[in-house]
């Protein structure tokens, strides 16, 4: 066990994956000598050289598109998109090519490409640097989408994502990059070294976890919002409400089973994410909980997310994003039934 920041855990996870498999190649803008604008790849260029840590031209479609070609020849490209808001030039390559090639080829071509994206807000940034685009990808079959909330998950899941034969969008909660936590480095190593490691790893990263047990209300979150959900649980506990927190970890697949099981116990569900509420991941979760646990629900599933506006200037982000008060307000509302 060692203590790491979430960013540090990803860095260590990348290093472990590169040590494990010489076909793992990092590609992105400024990830080499600079170590990425968030320093997540710090030191890797020095230790693995410019052929394993590649500074690409400034073109996201080109980064994803060339990665697809490399993956066709057996490489495992791990890409960095510099900020959430800059993934869209690659949207065509991701949704029409990366996501569909396995299907198009009847399983003959697998594309184990990982796309790392520092995402979400709360860092006081300028436009396009604080967005949460997960729902814009989750509708497209062929992609997996995960987001770790803790250093341990960051360390494990980046390696599981790299081991998975499927393309994975790996969303890194950038406001949590400097959060520290204990990390056991041995568990994922033994998982991946075992027979069927890639399958086990894929399955594991696709499952949510109960981050805190409770009995009155289920609060569902992922990535940057898990910490908020835990704060909500604390605050609610002080008022006598017992909150169960589900950390989804995976958005595609969405581990609705874990949520539905919890919802059947609590009868009340609140979903939190930074992405706009409208047409967000919370909608899918709400719809599934209703479909599968309708007769257990005491109250409608409520959603707390960003608003249906562009991400505003950073001086407004604390009003725009879910915060303790807004989530507690939703908890109170579901508790009135």
């Amino acid at each position: 066990m060692s203590t790491m920041t979430l960013a540090g855990a990803i860095n260590r996870g990348l290093r472990a994956a590169m040590d494990r498999d010489p076909k793992v190649v990092l590609m992105g803008e400024d990830i080499g000598q600079l170590g990425g604008v968030f320093r997540v790849t710090d030191g890797l260029w020095k230790d693995f050289g410019p052929d394993r840590v590649v500074d690409t031209p400034l073109a996201e479609s080109g980064i994803v598109g060339t990665a697809i070609g490399m993956a066709m020849r057996g490489y495992t490209p791990v890409l960095e998109i510099q900020f959430d808001g800059f993934i869209f030039p690659a949207y065509n390559q991701i949704t029409t090519q990366l996501a569909k090639m396995h299907y198009r080829s009847h399983g003959a071509i697998t594309l184990p490409v990982v796309i790392r994206v520092p995402y979400s807000g709360h860092i006081g940034a300028v436009e396009h640097h604080s967005e949460s685009p997960e729902a814009l990808f989750a509708h497209t079959a062929g992609l997996r989408i995960v987001s770790p909330a803790t250093p341990q998950d960051a360390y494990d899941m980046i390696q599981q994502a790299i081991a998975s034969p499927d393309p994975v969008l790996f969303l890194e909660p950038k406001a949590r990059y400097w959060d520290k936590g204990e990390v056991d480095e041995s568990r994922v190593a033994s998982q991946l070294d075992a027979d069927g490691g890639a399958s086990a790893a894929t399955a594991e990263m696709s499952r949510g976890r109960i981050a805190r047990e409770g009995k009155d209300v289920t609060v569902v979150a992922y990535g940057p919002s898990v910490r908020l959900a835990l704060q909500v649980a604390d605050a609610a506990a002080a008022e006598g409400t017992s909150v169960e927190v589900v950390d989804l970890r995976s958005i595609s697949p969405l581990d609705s089973d874990t949520v539905v099981r919890s919802a059947k116990r609590t009868g009340r569900v609140v979903v939190v994410h930074e992405a706009p509420t409208a047409f967000g991941a919370g909608a899918e979760l709400a719809a599934r909980v209703m479909e599968q646990a309708f007769f257990h629900l005491h109250a409608p599933v409520l959603r707390v997310g960003g608003f249906h506006t562009p991400y505003p200037g950073s001086k407004f982000e604390h009003d725009y994003l879910p915060n303790l008060d807004r989530v507690l307000d939703a908890v109170d509302r579901v508790m009135t039934h």
Binding site: S61, G65, T66, M70, Y75, T96, Q97, A108, G142, D166
Partner: protein, 375 residues
Amino acid sequence: MDAHGPLSDQGLVQLLNRHGERLEDERFSRYAADLDLEALLAMWHDMTVVRAFDKEATSLQRQGELGLWVPSLGQEAAQIGAGHALRESDFVFPSYREHGIALTRGVDLPEILRIFRGLQHGAWDAAEHGFHLYTLVIGAHSLHATGYALAMDRDGLVGTGADSDGAVLCCFGDGATSQGDVNEALTFAAVNNAPIVFMVQNNQFAISEPTTRQSRVPLAQRGSGFGIPAVRYDGNDVVASYAVARWALEHARSGQGPVLIEAFTYRMGAHTTSDDPSKYRSQADESYWAERDPIARLETYLRAQGALTDDAVDAAGVEAKELGRRTREAVKGWERPPAASIFDHVYAEPHATVEAERAWFARYEASFADQGVHA
């Protein structure tokens, strides 16, 4: 800057003119030097085969057996010439019209029609043939091709002088040159010195739009903007097509980096069977290009050389007929896999949503078996 537009025939490399006469070119003749009559006959053979296949596919579409067909009519020389310049160690990224190159890569032509019958999106094993699946999103594959070429380079398959040396041939049309992706591919290839040949088949149209809507200079000139050497040639001349492609592939295979070649040709047929070219081009234009038919001029040459006999022509006709029959039978004989196969290969590992929907679908289908169709 070239003063000529993108439809000019100035400065085209040509080694076999429309009258079936061989020409010399200081730079490229030597790349055609190994083309003896036997080799040319083989090319003629392939060109006739793919044209016959095209005809058959078109008629199957008319009969309602295919949803769509995309003819390569008129582009046989560009494709067969390039195809014969390829080595087994090379890898091709076609767009969706490269049936001629498919043939030279050992794809059994009727298999292509699985796509156009709506059975599947990809219809052959790309790795086995060194021939990637067709990509319908214009230009998207140019980046895959570049990445693949970079991977070949990493794998030590470039510039060693060994037979294992290879390069990527990436095909796209004149219209595709306007896509951002194609230009990004040129950038990635250039800065990384990728072993790739970008081959533009300028068939003068992107559906109804003439190449003048995509560029005001010849498309080969695009290369220079990225520091990529480029050549423009008569794509209806199979000898030039072979020679230029061979030069380009050798350049790339030997580690000298990317090349752009522009085959100036003409789409003699419709864009697809859904298209009606009479809406946007003249009979005169079509007649002009009919006189420049790539197969006819090779025939003239081979006949003049005494290399093409009536017997050979007859034999090719018989073979074409047989291919037609085999194609028809294959197409009509394909069984559609069960509906539940739509859930296969969405992911390489199980995905809960797909598995839940697959299970639901199985129950749903079973409910019909139990109860008969609803209502």
